[in-house]
Amino acid sequence: MKYSDCARRIGLALVLVSLAACVSQPPDHGAEQAQAALLARGLDTSLQQDQFAGELSRQQAVQAAVLNHPSVRAEYARLNIAAADVVRASELLNPRLSLSWLDVSGGSNELTLGLAQSLAAVMLRPARQRIAAADYELATLALADNLQELALATESAWYALVAAEQGLQVQARASDTALWADELGSRFAAAGNMAPLQRAELARSAAEARLELLDAERQRDQARARLEQQLALHHEDWSVPTTLPLPATDAPDPEQLVAQALDAHPALQTLAWERRRLLSVGDNARRESWLDEAEVGVEHERSGEERATGPELAFRLPLWHRNAGTRLALAAELELLEAREASLRGQLPRRLRLQLGELSRLREALEVRERLLLPALAAEVEARQDRVNFMLDGVFNLLGSKQSELRAWRDHVATLAEYWQQQVELADTAGRAATPAGEGLLDVSAVAPPESNSQAPEQQEQHHGRHH
C-alpha cells in the first residue's frame, strides 16, 4: 500500500537519524592544538616532567609552571567542558512515542499509536555542531593564551629574581666599601687621627649602606616569593642563576615583527573564531525561526477493524515571531567584533613600535654603561689607586671611588633587568609565548667577587646572615 510504504521510509529515516546521533565522540585535539600554537609562538610545552630541583633555567622555570601551576588544571577542565558541549550539540532529542486508547460508544475502541521526532533538532543540528566546534576552537585558543600568560608571568618572575640576586651580589660589595671605611674610621679615631665630624660622616655612610643592602635583600626575597608562586613546587630546593643574560646582538626588525603580529596574532585568531561562531549562531537563528518545535512523525490508528497509518508534520507559523530580536543582537555583536578587530589592528603596530623603541633605548643605555661608563669608573679606581700609592689621595677616596663603580654596576644590573621585563611585555604584546634567548651572561665576578670566595673564615663569620 502506498501509505504504508511511505511510513516505512519515514520510520527508517528516523532510525538512521537516531543512529547518527549516537556516533558523535568528544573532540580531544584541543590540548595538542594548543601545544602546537604555543610552539609556533616560541614555547615548547611538550617537555616531560622534571625534578625541578637545584638551579632552574628560565625554560625549566616555565616548564615547571606550565606543569604544576593550579590554574593549568582549571584551563584543561574548561577545554573539557567545551568538548562536552560538542557532544551535546550532536545529541538529538529522543523521539516521542504517543499512545491513546479510546472506548467508543457501541463497544468498539480506537487505538492511536504515534512516533514523532523533533524536526528542529535534526535540521538545526549541523548549525549547533558548528557553534560547539567553534566554541571548542575558542576554548583551545583560550587554553593557549592562558598558558602563554602563565609562561610569560613566570619568565617575568624568573628575570626579576635573577636580577635581584645579581643586584644583591653587587650591592653587598658596594655596601662593604662603606662598612670598611667606617671600620677604618674607628681605627683612625682610636689612633687619635680623626675628628668627630668625619667619624660621624663615615658612620652615617655605613648605616646608609646597610639600609641599601637590606633593601636589596628585601627585593630578592620578594622576587623569590613571586617566582615560587609561579613554580608551585612542593619543595624549597630550587634556585636560579645569579647572572642575567645579555641581550642578543641583533635586534628584531620592527616592520617584520609588526607584519607578523598583524598576520598571526592570537587575539586576531580568536576574533576570527568568534566571528565564525557568531555566523553559525546567526545561521541557527534563521533556521530556528522556522523550525522551532517542528516535528515529523508517523501515526497508526486502529479503529475496529480499520487500520490507518500516515505521516505527521507540525510546526509553528512564523507570522509574528521570526527571531528578529536575536538576529538584530547578532548583527550588533558582529559589528562589535569588527570594531574590536579594527581597533586591535590599529593599536598593535603602535604598541609594538613603542615597546621596540623602549627596548632599543634600554639597549643603548646598556651599551653606554658597558662601553663608556663602567670602563671610565674602572679607570677612575685604577687612577685613584695610583694616587693613593703616591700619597696623593687617601684610602677613603679609594673606597669612595670603588663604591661609585659598584653602584654603577648595580644600576647596570637594574637596567638589564628592566630590559628583560620589557622583552616580556613585548612578547605579550606581539603574541609570543617566550622572550628571545640572550647572548652570554653579565659577569660581575671581576668587579664584585662573591664574598665567600675571597674571605678569611673570621670575616665570613662577621658577615653571617647578611646575605647568602
Binding site: 689612633a191 689607586q385 696623593l392 684610602v395
Partner: protein, 455 residues
C-alpha cells in the same frame, strides 16, 4: 704583607724595564748635567759662574758691546727622570742660560719671541734707563710672537741678578721663564773665589698625571726646584777641600725658602744690592731667600758629602697630597685584607711613619700616576735618602782639579768617622728620660667638661 715580602715579590714579578726605571728614579744613576765652565779666570779677571744643570750664554763682542741673543720659546723639560713637561724657557732650557758680564760692560741683548703670545724681559734688579726695564705696556710695547727686540744698556753695578718676563707674568713665570744675570765687580772680589755656583729657586704646579704646568695655582705647588730640577736630578755642587765656594741663590717662586747648608757656617756676602762690604758679612747656617730676592753665600770647602736644601720639609719632597688621612699609628689589620678582596692593589701604609714608602715606590710595584715622581727619592751609600724637591749635595773632595765639575760619587769617610750601631737593644744604657711616655696604655686625650657655669 710586610714590606720585606713585598720587595721579594716585586723582584720576581716586575719586568726588568720597570726596575731599571725605578733605580734611575731613585738616584742610582746620577751624573752632573750642567755644562762645565773653564775653572780658570776670564781675561776680565773673574771666575766664571757654574750653573748646575744649566749653562752660560756665549756672547759676541761687537764694537765694544757684549751682544747676547735670547730666544723665548716652548721647550720640553724634564724635572727628573719620570717627570717631563711642556714648559716655556729661553734658548731651549729652563732656567734660560745664565748671562754673565762685568760691571761697566755695555750689553746689547736681542730677544726673539717664539712663544705663541707676546712677551718682554725685565732685568730684575738692574739699574738702567726706564725704557729698558722690560715692563710691557709700561716701559715698552710687548714683543709680539715672531718679533725680535733689542735691549741695550751699560751695567752700572755688580751682583747676582735675574731676568724674567714682565708680560702675562702669571703664565710665563709659572711656565718656567727665568734666568740668572751675573755681574762681576770691575775691581775684583775681596776674597778670591774658586767655584761660583748660580741657582734659581722655583715652584711648579705640575699636577700628578699631567704634563704641563698649571699657571692658575697660587699656593699648592707640586714641585720645588733648583734650576728647574728636583732631587735626585739636581747636580751635586762639587768643590775641592779648602776651596772658596760661592753659591748665588735667586728666588722666583711664590714662597720664601730657608736654605740650609750642612757642615759649615757660611757667610752671607751679598744680596740684591750686590757684594756687601766685608763688615756686613754675617755667619749663618740657614739663610732665607725671600720671594724675588737674591743672596750670595760663601764658605770654604770641608771634605764630605753635605746636604744643601730648603728647610721647609714639604719643599724637599716631590708631589704629595696635603689632605690625605693621617695613617700614623693607625692599625689597619683585618680591614686591609678585606679591602684587598675588592681592591687587590691596596696596601695599608704609614702606621709607623712614611719611611717605608720609598722602598715601595723605588721597587716599582707601587705605581703612581703617569709622569709623576714619588714623594721620596734618592739612594745614598747608606740607604734611602728619602728626599725630593729642593735638595742636593755639596760634595767636597781633596785634590780636585779646577774646572772639574763631575760628580765624584759618594764620600769615602775616614775610618771611625761614621756613626755606627752599638746596640740593638732598646733598653741599652741608662739614658735620662723625662715627661710622660706614650705607650699602649696611654690615656685618651682629655675631654673638657661642658657643664656650663656653676653659680
Amino acid at each position: 704583607m710586610k714590606r720585606r715580602d713585598f720587595l721579594v715579590a716585586s723582584g720576581s714579578v716586575l719586568p726588568a724595564l720597570a726596575i731599571t726605571r725605578a733605580m734611575a728614579n731613585s738616584g742610582h744613576v746620577h751624573t752632573n748635567q750642567g755644562e762645565p765652565t773653564a775653572g780658570r779666570r776670564d781675561p776680565q779677571g773673574y771666575m766664571p759662574v757654574q750653573t748646575p744643570n744649566g749653562w752660560t750664554l756665549p756672547h759676541r763682542m761687537v764694537d765694544g758691546v757684549k751682544e747676547f741673543h735670547l730666544v723665548a720659546e716652548e721647550i720640553e723639560h724634564e724635572f727628573a727622570p719620570g717627570s717631563r713637561a711642556k714648559c716655556w724657557g729661553y734658548n731651549g732650557t729652563s732656567p734660560g742660560p745664565t748671562l754673565e758680564a762685568v760691571e761697566g760692560d755695555k750689553v746689547r741683548i736681542f730677544v726673539t719671541n717664539r712663544l705663541p703670545e707676546h712677551t718682554s724681559i725685565h732685568w730684575h734688579g738692574l739699574i738702567l734707563p726706564s725704557g729698558m726695564d722690560g715692563v710691557s705696556g709700561l716701559t715698552q710695547p710687548a714683543i709680539q710672537p715672531g718679533d725680535t727686540f733689542v735691549y741695550e744698556f751699560t751695567l752700572q753695578q755688580h751682583g747676582t741678578h735675574m731676568y724674567h718676563p714682565h708680560a702675562d707674568e702669571m703664565v710665563q713665570l709659572a711656565m718656567g721663564m727665568m734666568g740668572m744675570f751675573i755681574i762681576h765687580p770691575r775691581d775684583g772680589e775681596p776674597e778670591h773665589i774658586d767655584r761660583d755656583y748660580a741657582i734659581l729657586l722655583h715652584n711648579w704646579a705640575m699636577h700628578p698625571g699631567t704634563s704641563r704646568p698649571d699657571p692658575a695655582v697660587m699656593v699648592e705647588f707640586d714641585l720645588w726646584t733648583m734650576n728647574s730640577k728636583v732631587f735626585p736630578a739636581i747636580d751635586s755642587l762639587v768643590a775641592g777641600s779648602g776651596e772658596r765656594v760661592r753659591i748665588r741663590l735667586g728666588n722666583l717662586s711664590m714662597w720664601n725658602h730657608p736654605i740650609h747648608l750642612h757642615g759649615v757656617q757660611f757667610l752671607v756676602t751679598g744680596s740684591d744690592g750686590g757684594r756687601w762690604p766685608r763688615e756686613q758679612w754675617r755667619s749663618e747656617v740657614t739663610e732665607i731667600i725671600g720671594v724675588g730676592q737674591m743672596r750670595d753665600i760663601e764658605f770654604v770647602g770641608v771634605p764630605g758629602d753635605w746636604a744643601f736644601h730648603c728647610h721647609m720639609a714639604h719643599h724637599t719632597m716631590n708631589p704629595m697630597g696635603h689632605e690625605i688621612p693621617n695613617t700614623l699609628g693607625v692599625n689597619q689589620d683585618g680591614v686591609e685584607e678585606k679591602i684587598r678582596t675588592l681592591l687587590p692593589r691596596y696596601m695599608a701604609m704609614g702606621e709607623h711613619g712614611m719611611g717605608e714608602h720609598q722602598d715601595h715606590t723605588d721597587s716599582g710595584h707601587m705605581t703612581g700616576p703617569p709622569n709623576t715622581l714619588p714623594m721620596m727619592m734618592g739612594e745614598g751609600q747608606f740607604g734611602n735618602i728619602e728626599m725630593g724637591g729642593m735638595f742636593t749635595v755639596v760634595k767636597v773632595r781633596d785634590g780636585l782639579a779646577a774646572g772639574d765639575f763631575r760628580d765624584p760619587g759618594w764620600y769615602r769617610h775616614p775610618e771611625g768617622e761614621v756613626a755606627r750601631r752599638v746596640s740593638a737593644d732598646p733598653d741599652y744604657g741608662q739614658p735620662a728620660r723625662r715627661g710622660k711616655l706614650a705607650g699602649p696604655n696611654s690615656s685618651d686625650l682629655p675631654v673638657p667638661k661642658r657643664q656650663g657655669h656653676q653659680h
